[in-house]
């Protein structure tokens, strides 16, 4: 492509890799829904904007396309999980890792929402409409186990209950398959015509990814990561914040929006239809805040001449990595550990064990082996860089979960089943002694990782309770959630 007028070859880093410096008013990293929205808003406001992305932006994330709902399945839950799920699992890892490497905190990464029926392994989600249409979950003994966990609702129990039940069945040895690590979703007792008309797309998905003919065999399923409520902490304007001496502090010039961010409208558990908030509102909010605080063409502050040197060195190291463990192997170990130790079923001893195992896997990163030594379109290299990022996120997720000794929203622990707030909100407040900040859990987790050692540090930050303007919208006090 053309070099812009402000592009200069830099010789301050390494002479091995040609480095070109470009100057922009604004750089947007990531071209998901929110990123593109921000980039476009900035460009419209006159800022010379660059959008840097690993993949060509497609509109699979877009709310607006095709009336708002895209699905491989005709039957679609209201919450449009598809827009988030994939980012969370594969893409969202880069943004949070960049922030971690900069020594800044990530927030609430332990709050992970699970969908009960993802296809085992592949992870493609099967709509809950299946169960609504009469599909049932079966263990290795052919038992419809939901009858035990929810005698009335059975397979139509809430998502949390179903995910938990499935996990307990597997933990207690009644899982299916050679590794007994999933359960079955059975549909073949339903009339084929009903399957075709009420659940179109299931048959295709099940065949393409599980090799299963749903009119004859059950689908192997497992609770699957659905969404991560956490991310890069921001204020309501999209500005990234850190927390120093008990106070929120804006990181000047850095903004975050979309999946990667945690402005924390979702708290501990995201409600279905709030997906729009992340994509559109905060993407736009970032652009507006920048337009308020900066002017196009303002001089760019100087950075040290060898800025980025570490990144180039890391890239070079991975490109020629000749250790003992393949990228794919480390990645699989990480995924399996997260699945078995930090998924739906969380309890102290298992979380602690998971922390140790994951820290060991982090040390394995020093012994990586890559194959592709090339410099152009090197997928092996990019996927290895991604693995480094995913590991940083996974560490923060599992250590945060281990430390949080309560249950709150999506973080549900077998050994600490209740929410621990500063007051017991299930009773009248009068006469109650307020617990000090260190002794309750109604607070955000802030996690840091020392990249060299893999050591995780956890701090906490208060939840913002008050609305911006009591006249526009009064503050809603905390209350115990009941179904």
């Amino acid at each position: 492509g053309k070099k812009s007028a402000s592009a200069k070859v830099s010789d301050s880093i390494s002479t091995q890799y040609p480095v070109v410096d470009h100057e922009f008013d604004a750089v947007v990293v990531g071209a998901g829904g929110a990123g593109l929205r921000a980039a476009f808003g900035l460009s419209e406001a006159g800022f010379n904007t660059a959008c840097v992305t690993k993949l060509f932006p497609t509109r699979s994330h877009t709310v607006a396309a095709q009336g708002g709902i895209n699905a491989a399945l005709g039957n679609m839950e209201d919450d449009n999980w598809r827009w988030h799920f994939y980012d969370t699992v594969k893409g969202t890892g880069d943004g949070t890792a960049m922030v971690t490497r900069a020594g800044l905190p990530c927030q609430d990464l332990e709050f992970v929402q699970f969908h009960p029926t993802g296809i085992y392994g592949a992870g493609c989600l099967i709509t809950e409409g299946c169960r609504g249409e009469g599909g049932i979950l079966i263990n290795s003994q052919g038992e419809r186990f939901m009858e035990r966990y929810a005698p009335v609702a059975k397979d139509l129990a809430s998502r949390d209950v179903v995910s938990r039940s499935m996990t307990i069945e597997i933990r207690e040895g009644r899982g299916c398959g050679p590794e007994k690590d999933h359960v079955y979703l059975q549909l073949h007792h339903l009339p084929p015509q009903q399957l075709a008309t009420r659940l179109p797309g299931i048959s295709e998905t099940a065949m393409i990814f599980a090799g299963v003919d749903v009119t004859k065999e059950p689908i192997p399923v497992l609770p699957t990561v659905h969404y991560n409520m956490g991310g890069i902490p921001t204020n309501y304007k999209g500005q990234v914040i850190t927390h120093v001496n008990g106070e929120d502090k804006v990181v000047p010039g850095l903004y975050a929006c979309g999946e990667a961010a945690s402005a924390s409208v979702h708290g501990a558990n995201r409600l279905g239809a709030n997906s729009l908030l992340d994509l559109v509102v905060f993407g736009r909010a970032c652009a507006l805040t920048i337009a308020e605080t900066c002017k196009p063409g303002e001089p760019v502050p100087s950075i040290k001449p060898n800025a980025g040197e570490e990144s180039v060195a890391n890239l070079d190291k991975l490109r020629f990595a000749d250790g003992t463990i393949r990228t794919s192997e480390v990645r699989l170990n990480m995924q399996k550990t997260m699945q078995s130790h930090a998924a739906v079923f969380r309890t102290g001893s298992i979380l602690q064990e998971g922390c140790e195992i994951l820290s060991q896997i982090y040390r394995d990163l020093a012994h990586l082996k890559t194959f592709d030594r090339g410099i152009v379109w090197n997928t092996d290299l990019v996927e290895t860089l991604e693995l480094q990022n995913l590991m940083l996120c996974a560490l923060q997720t599992i250590y945060g979960a281990e430390a949080r000794k309560e249950s709150r929203g999506a973080h549900a622990r077998e050994d600490y089943k209740v929410r621990i707030d500063e007051f017991d909100y299930s009773k009248p407040l009068q006469g109650q002694q307020k617990r000090p900040f260190e002794e309750h859990w109604r607070k955000h987790t802030l996690s840091y990782v020392d990249v060299k050692s893999g050591k995780v540090t956890l701090k906490y930050r208060p939840v913002i309770d008050r609305t911006l303007n009591e006249e526009d919208c009064s503050t809603v006090p905390p209350a115990i959630r009941s179904y």
Partner: protein
């Protein structure tokens, strides 16, 4: 403000959205000046272009990357499998057809619908490569496709 170092070896896209001729009326109240409040659909993306002078090994490497990096899980697995099975034996003409198929549609879901025949394939994409993709989607051998294939197969012959 930001200064960005762009390393010439990383696959990245510089996208400078054109201040488009099509200005939509502002839908939001309180929008700042210059913010059109457009939703995503109107944001113009750089159009797909064929690359006639690209060396074949580079084209295969690029298409492999683009097959593995999608906006949704289903296509990620499906196209990775397609890449593993077919890229090394496709000729230049077929590679260009595949290039257009996976890079021109602006909605990743459309490719999935066409491959699974949930929607008819538009004429411009309805060619032998699409037929190969449809065949793969049928999974006639009823394999379990648990995840994206690892990349080792690319290097097996050189080990």
């Amino acid at each position: 403000m930001a200064m960005s170092r762009l390393y010439s070896l990383s696959p990245c896209t510089l996208c400078r959205p054109v201040l488009a001729v099509l200005r939509m009326p502002r839908g939001y109240s309180g929008a700042s000046l210059g913010d059109s409040g457009k939703d995503m659909l109107e944001i113009p993306l750089p159009p797909w272009k064929e690359r006639p002078n690209e060396p074949l090994p580079t084209k295969r490497a690029r298409l492999l990357y683009e097959s593995r990096k999608r906006g949704m899980l289903e296509n990620c697995i499906l196209l990775s499998l397609f890449a593993k099975e077919n890229l090394s034996r496709m000729d230049e003409r077929q590679l260009n057809l595949y290039d257009r198929l996976i890079n021109e549609p602006s909605n990743d879901w459309d490719i999935y619908y066409w491959a699974t025949e949930a929607k008819p394939t538009p004429a411009v994409f309805d060619n032998e490569v699409m037929a190969m993709l449809k065949e793969l989607a049928k999974n006639k051998k009823k394999e379990q496709r648990l995840r994206q294939p690892d990349l080792e197969y690319l290097f097996e012959s050189t080990n």
